[in-house]
Amino acid sequence: MSPGLLAQSLVLGILTGGMYALMAAGLTLIFGVMKVINVAHAAIIVMGAYLSLTLFRHLGIDPLLSVLLLIPVFLALGALIQWSVVNRLAERDITLTVLMTFGFAIILEGLQGAIWTSSYQGIKTGYSLESFQLFTLYIPVVRLISAGISLLLLAGLYALLTFTKLGRAIRATIQNRTAAQLVGVDVRLVTTVSFAIGIAIAGAAGPLLGMLFTFYPATHWLWIGKLLAIVVLGGLGSLRGAFVAAMLLGIAEQVTSVTLALGWAPMIFYVFLFGVLVVRPQGLFGAVERQSL
């Protein structure tokens, strides 16, 4: 592979990886506080894409603006669903809760098919096909924008978790739920808030996905596979890990698609994932679980 081609696929990989990181961030956050894999996560992202599509077609609202609009809506929906259904079940049976998110995914898929039909969709704006040249590199504008927005949102999430009192409570709840309770944290409330934040990030990723990729109701199965691979590789519950793993996946996909063929990209990634897990079962950044209580 020529150095120019390599640089080109690295850049494209990083730009795509930024969006993957945003898509995976909510999933790993929800796993962190609840120890539940939200199988519906990608279906929620696709829901965000459909909503953005409708807002764009019927009201002319730019998908980038709908990112901002969807965040509060998904935040509220996430809190409502967590408080009314998920929490009650999670406190009784964690396995059933995972099954329930699976059910959610199927319901969302059915809903999307009923409203938007099962044909392929994409959000095509005036700048969708634009690109520019940077030295020898070819940069598609939407990829740059979506990576920029993803990084901005991830930086916001990072700042929230690192510098605020709520963020400290979320991290404490993730690391040791019992100890968090014993220092006065209402862990149920923290769990609800974290879940809602995770869903809000998924909603925000929707319009970005819709601009970059075509989608249809069943696409979420493809995506949840990728997202699971990312969060497992990064270490379940680790945001930093998910970020690094998302970048690796983005780059691996681009590099393999220019050297071998696009079809090989996922396989290369899973081989890599498998290799890492053999050496580090807890993932790249995962902590080895320590039992409390």
């Binding site: 009192k165 404490a172 690391q175 040791n176 309770q181 014993l182 220092v183």
Partner: protein, 241 residues
């Protein structure tokens, strides 16, 4: 009376009773040590007092109010702090963040600063190692961070579950000495201790728990000299009795 348990029965899930009618009273300012064999229910008792476990029967009165079934985070705000058995620090957070979590429920910044200052006076380690991840500290250092975290809010009652477990004798003595100082500052202590000799000599009052009930109690030094206690818990041969 600060804390009073009357016929407390508790257990896990739908399992059998672990506490089978515990009666226990703690005066304000007391330093009580609870000893007993493995599996007697000592940790279960502390969990029931701090709200991690809901009593099935009986009453737990804290300052005259029945607190049975109240959430642990609310009880912590009421003044009951619990340092559980084993490691319970937030391993990937820094030492200072750990201690700050102890002040999570305080809104008044002055109170936060005051609590942090007092904790740092008793446990200088939380300033010395403030930027280190708590999980990287030694066992004894982590225990000190956990106790510091529990005292930032200046609890009325502090429950300590085998804080010296796994520590080398010198580190264990440091922890015990800190407990004595905390007690002198006015905190009521209920200490579960595997090393009966060390626990009973540090505390003023001792309780012996067996099979989910308090079997015997008395002044710490009296229990230390009790022939039956000597034989069962102090590992002394029967002939010395």
């Amino acid at each position: 009376m600060l804390l009073q348990l009357e016929g407390v029965i508790a257990g896990y899930g739908s399992g059998s009773d672990i506490l089978r009618g515990v009666d226990l009273s703690l005066d304000s300012g007391a330093f009580t040590c609870l000893i007993g064999p493995n599996g007697a229910g000592k940790s279960t008792l502390l969990r029931t007092i701090s709200g991690l476990l809901r009593p099935r029967q009986g009453r737990i009165l804290f300052r005259g109010r029945d607190i049975g079934g109240r959430r642990p985070d609310l009880l912590f705000r009421d003044g009951i702090a619990h340092v559980p058995q084993g490691r319970s620090s937030f391993a990937q957070m820094t030492v200072w963040e750990n201690v700050l979590m102890g002040a999570y429920s305080l809104a008044d910044q002055r109170q936060v600063d005051q609590g942090l200052t007092q904790a740092a006076e008793l446990f200088p380690i939380i300033r010395e190692q403030r930027h280190k991840a708590a999980g990287l500290l030694s066992g004894g250092e982590q225990k000190q961070v956990e106790i510091a975290r529990a005292m930032v809010r200046q609890p009325t009652l502090l429950l300590l579950d085998e804080p010296t477990l796994g520590l080398e004798p010198r580190a264990a003595r440091v922890v015990v000495e800190k407990m004595r100082m905390l007690n002198q500052l006015g905190t009521t202590l209920l200490l579960v201790e595997q090393n009966a000799r060390m626990g009973l000599s540090a505390a003023k009052w001792g309780c012996i728990m067996e099979l989910g009930t308090i079997k015997l109690q008395g002044m710490g030094d009296q229990l230390l000299n009790d022939p039956q206690v000597k034989r069962l818990y102090l590992g002394q041969a029967a002939e010395s009795a």
